[in-house]
Point group: C2
Chain length 208, copies 2
């Protein structure tokens, strides 16, 4: 009996915990990921989690990895929707815009997951992700877009240096201001306008 609900063994508790974590963190963010509340929502004893995670932090990181994966997927989908027939320069700029606006849009529409995703960005614990997607950090999309701009001739190699941090700063800054900061709760239209303004200004500054 593989999926008997009343089986002594749960079957795939680890995945169940991560899924429940995503559901709970969606509203409530990282502090909604209590070990007890999490196991309770799966219908299992608190200590059962310790068979799959060293401690609460490890469980949170596993959920965070999946959240970061979803951020990457959101950006990739926007990149995939770019029409391919434009000229290379325009296309490269368009790619950078989509990476940036995708990052911001994800943060605003899923602030709980965004908080988790950013939490992952230091301790690069190589934990397994739940989905089978080959994992690509969102960071990589930014690098690719900037390299594409250099290749297309819209960004000099000189100004390419450290440009990823300049872009990421502006993009992450507006995202953080909109999710945790003074821009919290503003209309999506206002945020979108400010986001576009940040991205355009940074782009203009890079090309000078």
């Amino acid at each position: 009996m593989i999926s008997d609900a009343h089986s002594y063994h749960h079957g795939d508790l680890r995945s169940a915990l991560v899924e429940a974590g995503l559901r709970l963190a969606r509203d409530g963010g990282v502090n909604a990921l209590g070990l007890r509340e999490l196991t309770r929502s799966v219908g299992v004893t608190p200590n059962a989690a310790y068979r799959h995670f060293a401690d609460r932090q490890a469980l949170v990181l596993a959920v965070a990895a999946e959240a970061q994966n979803r951020l990457a997927r959101a950006i990739r989908e926007r990149l995939g929707a770019i029409p391919g027939d434009a000229d290379p320069a325009e296309r490269a700029v368009h790619q950078l815009r989509e990476v940036s606006l995708g990052y911001i849009h994800f943060a605003v529409s899923e602030p709980g997951w965004f908080e988790l995703a950013f939490l992952m960005q230091d301790e690069s614990r190589g934990d397994e992700c739940v989905t089978i997607d080959d994992y690509v950090p969102p960071y990589q999309f930014l690098l690719d877009a900037l390299d594409g701009m250099v290749h297309a001739g819209v960004l000099t190699p000189e100004r390419r240096a450290d440009a990823e941090w300049v872009c990421w700063s502006g993009v992450h800054g507006i995202a953080d201001l909109a999710t945790r900061g003074p821009l919290q709760g503003l209309d999506r239209s206002v945020i979108d306008m400010l986001a576009a303004r940040v991205v355009d200004t940074t782009l203009a500054g890079l090309r000078t």
Copy 2:
């Protein structure tokens, strides 16, 4: 007897709690501000805090207000150190740079306080600050610097619109990347270089 150490009444518990909060949050950030640990470090019973704060969150916000005050003071000091004999345009740009770099420098050198200061930026609870300084949110310095640039003619009124959010995004973004994100732990010199790059690029983009 005003300051008898063994007096039944503490004297000024509220201030003492906020000061202890600043001391504890300096390393350890906001989650080091446990109500019990805080009252313990002052030498008083946990529930004594409830005579001065509604709950733990109110106490944290009071500490956060003071942290934001120190951020403002740090920026003001840098603004005060600007030589006044330069021409207005150069001076206005210099002011914006000092506001930006002061924000970033404070974040990097006092990450715990910075975390608190940013936490304050939404719920504008009008709690009293500990110091007697007339309180000016750091935000105001940014507005003044940008208005100064318009007045000096280095920024068109058209590009002035929403420029505070563009600047704040870049500045806060690099600060967050350096304190909570992937830039965590890097050498101060590297952070300084990246910070200058962010500020310069944003400035260039604004002036286009």
